[in-house]
């Protein structure tokens, strides 16, 4: 077909060549996968035809990623058959899947940050000269050819750690094309991208499909499935619950299939009545993990009885900002006032006791002590006060009583409060954190991605609790990378881009287009008339 195919290594069949469009290039028959206590895949069957884009839609925990890991040879299926081009195959490692022309872009990028693009691309399929020595020039040349053909511009000599996320995504796709993959699996590829980068990515993916590649696109976002796919398969609790042509589907039907009931995507809340300021931030500067400027002079105010949402693509300083507010990260400069009192330099415990509830981004790493009992996790911020302890001795009975009250009030479902918190589902784990943080007398809630990775039921529940806290007079400042959540929950929206606020808007007047442009830093780009 052209020299890209010849330049590559491995299989030599060009995608789209000599293929019958009505015969599936890939077929799954009755795939079953069990994990302890969970049936992750329950007799899943699906077909992928040449040159089509198939969206695999489902909530977190529906079994999408497990299915794709089976298809890619990372997990063995307990039952069922995988057929590639009509032949049954059995993969014991990704190497076997790659051999059959299957490539996967993982949800978390599989790139080595300290290596160059060329090294990352060739890893596992190295071009060599004199039998042993890496042929970097040859690989760079192959990458350039792929870049030109599919519009995936990237410098082969650049180090991956210096590249923005959108470009890293391209490197992942180039990795597959370099291996001559014609069945491409993309697992939630838009999670870390700006709306503009998503648009660009979709253009590339459509081009690939037009060139004869077959794509499986895994997502939980209805809009993306509708925009990109030819056909949509919906998974729920490990089963295929629906299949439809994208052209004939709409959001409401898909949402109902995905969740299993009618979904109210809008949060019901009364009009906000902001009172006095509870949080005032003036010109705050915070360093990131490697000493880089992560937050660069942010000023904002949160009043009691209002919800302020921080929008922005992941990694634009939101996390560092919130961690600095709660005292987990030192600030380099600026002032933070809580209820009119300066709290800069206070320890996290002092900040919390001043009336702050904090919901961290990574609940398993920062929010809970996984091997500890549920009841202990519920009192992590109060165990040292009477009646829970006296003179340094814990009162187990008082702790149990308090935990029981909270579990009931916050609908935490478990067989026993003495079990490790690790045994709970993601939604219930998050409820433990919310119960703990909202049960103290608080004036301000600081929440990072409060509903990330949760099922729709838990999301609704947590949103409701946050609105209740607002009605009770607390101020709320939360971070989310999901535009839907920002628009649904906020009274006021600020947009972070590269550590600064690039826009503040009333939620009622905001729309996705505006937010998308701001999240991409539209005000920072030159040549735009004011």
């Amino acid at each position: 077909m052209d020299d890209v195919e010849k330049a590559g290594v491995g299989r030599n069949q060009a995608p789209g060549e000599g293929q019958d469009r009505s015969r599936p290039v890939l077929e799954l028959r009755g795939i079953v996968k069990r994990f302890p206590g969970v049936l992750a895949n329950d007799h899943i069957s699906l077909k992928l035809y040449p040159g089509e884009i198939l969206a695999l839609l489902g909530e977190n925990g529906a079994g999408k990623t497990t299915l794709m890991n089976i298809l890619y040879g990372l997990l063995p299926p307990d039952e069922g058959t995988v057929m590639v081009r009509g032949e049954p195959v059995r993969f014991s490692s990704p190497a076997d899947a790659i051999e059959k022309g299957i490539g996967m872009v993982h949800q978390h990028f599989m790139l080595v940050p300290v290596m160059t693009v060329a090294e990352n691309v060739m890893l596992g399929e190295e071009k060599v000269h004199h039998r042993f020595f890496l042929d970097r020039a040859g690989v760079s040349e192959a990458i350039r050819k792929i870049s030109e053909r599919y519009g995936l511009a990237v410098d082969p000599q650049a180090y991956v750690q210096d590249l923005p996320v959108g470009i890293q995504q391209r490197v992942e796709i180039i990795k597959l094309l370099y291996r001559q993959a014609d069945i491409l699996i993309l697992d939630e590829p838009t999670a870390a991208l700006t709306p503009q980068e998503v648009h660009e990515l979709f253009g590339i993916l459509k081009g690939l499909a037009a060139a004869g590649h077959s794509l499986i696109f895994i997502t939980h976002k209805l809009k993306e499935a509708l925009e990109l796919a030819d056909r949509i398969v919906v998974l729920r609790r490990g089963q295929v619950v629906g299949e439809t042509e994208a052209a004939r589907a709409d959001e409401a039907t898909l949402a109902r299939m995905m969740v299993g009931r009618d979904v109210e995507l809008v949060v019901q809340k009364p009009v906000a009545r902001p009172g006095e300021p509870v949080l005032t931030v003036e010109d705050l500067w915070v360093e990131g993990e490697h000493g880089e400027p992560a937050v660069r002079g942010v000023s904002l105010e949160v009043r009691s009885g209002e919800i302020v949402g921080i929008a922005g693509v992941q990694g634009n300083g939101q996390t560092e900002f919130m961690e600095a507010l709660v005292g987990l990260r030192p600030s380099r400069a600026g002032r933070v006032m809580l209820l009119g009192r300066p709290v800069t330099g206070l320890s996290p415990r002092q900040v919390l006791e001043a009336g702050v509830g904090y919901i961290p981004e990574d609940r398993q790493r920062d929010g809970l002590i996984l091997p500890f009992a549920i009841e202990d996790n519920l009192v992590l911020d109060t165990y040292y006060h009477p009646p829970l302890s006296r003179r340094g001795w814990l009162d187990r009975r008082a702790i149990r009583q308090r935990a029981e009250k909270l579990a009931q009030a916050f609908d935490i479902r478990t067989a026993s409060l003495g079990l490790p918190v690790r045994t709970l589902s993601g939604g219930n784990q998050q409820k433990v954190i919310v119960a703990r943080e909202l049960s103290r007398s608080i004036r301000l809630i600081l929440a990072l991605q409060p509903t990330r990775g949760l099922d729709v039921g838990s999301i609704e529940y947590i949103h409701q609790r946050i609105v209740e806290a607002r009605e009770a007079g607390a101020g709320v400042l939360f971070v989310s990378t999901e535009l839907d959540e920002i628009l649904a929950l906020s009274d006021r929206i600020v947009v972070f881009y590269r550590g600064r606020i690039v826009g503040t808007l009333e939620a009622a007047a905001a729309d996705r287009e505006q937010l998308g442009l701001l999240m991409a830093g539209a005000t920072g780009t030159g040549g735009v008339a004011a």
Binding site: P94, M110, M115, F132, L134, R296, A509, T523
Partner: protein, 431 residues
Amino acid sequence: MSLPAWADQGERVEPRPFARAPTRGSRPPAPVVVSFLVILVIVLGFLRTSPGGEALFGLAGSGGAELVVLGPLSVPVNPALYGFFLLTAVMGLAYAGGRLEAGGLVLGVAFLSLVGAFLVWATAGQSLNLMGMLQATLVRAVPILLAALSGVMCERSGVVNIAIEGMMLGAAFTGVVAASATGNLLVGLVGAVATGALLALVHAVLSIGYRVDQIVSGTVINIFATGVTSYLSARFLQHMAWLNASGTFPDVVVPGLSRLPLIGPLLFRGNFFFYLAIALVAGLHVLLFRTRFGLRVRAVGEHPRAADTLGVNVWRIRYVSVILGGMIAGLGGAYFTLGSVGRFDELMTAGRGFIGLAAMIFGKWTPAGAFGASLLFGFADSLQTKLQILGTPIPPEFLLMAPYVATIIVVSGIVGRATPPAADGQPYEKG
């Protein structure tokens, strides 16, 4: 296209560079400044206590085999000390004034002038065989370098190996026994390498196969090697002296070049293991950074899951790397017996395996860096023996601390942070 009015609420000014941001702490890292001040004070101390006169530094190799035998270099003590003091002060001022970005370089020059000042001060009125000291530096760097290279090989693949000390001790033992029994030094060398490989295999099976904590596994091997060699040595070698007399590899002498003055005795005449180690530095560098296998080793040490998704067998790469590392440690062990004294003594490795790990960190997990770091440690080692001969008032144990202090400075990240491979020490599990 123009943006609506709401877009204007963001600031339009260019972001301030962070260096100009209002700061709380002082900008030049305090430890660097303190180091400069300490060095200046010490050099000043030398000046105040200097007896003056001249210091003689011998530059000839032993035996006078060079074409031109150089006489000793005579250095006037006080002017030299003033020179070193000024050099340090200028470097410090340049750094504080922000003219020199590279804190490491500046501090390195200051440190060298401290060493120079110290040598001049200690030798005042006497003579020091400088050539002999430099030769000893190279030889004493050898076991440290081999240990460090062993560590580089293992840790680049993501496996921490603190068992290098034990591997060297075991290899030193089998090396001398095999060589004595067969009367062939090469057989001894092979035996030592095989011992290193075998102990490394144990470490690999435990830490990669069974995912035992790598520190625990390494400690077990160290204790095992110490116990077994001490027992066997006491039980057998004491009575059967013929099993513990291997002789040593003869010095390598490059014909012609070894007769050049200065570099001849230093670089072209010396211990067999020194040249072996130099070859390994080059070989390991090529292996790690220029070959397919090396790329996979580094990938597995940084992001094993990424390598796995590309069809690289993470476990196999780690097994091979750890065993290769064990073989290098085996060579290091052979140096103690077959390269140095020709007999085994209990605990004769004396912590060189651990110092090698420090050299690996100091050398930022690269073969060339490990070489440089080993030279520093070797220099400190030989300095201390020479100073005992000169009879300075400073206790030699105190001088021995210098390389460790340097390591602490480096590891604490003052002079450019050393970053280990991202997956170093983490067992890899699928799924």
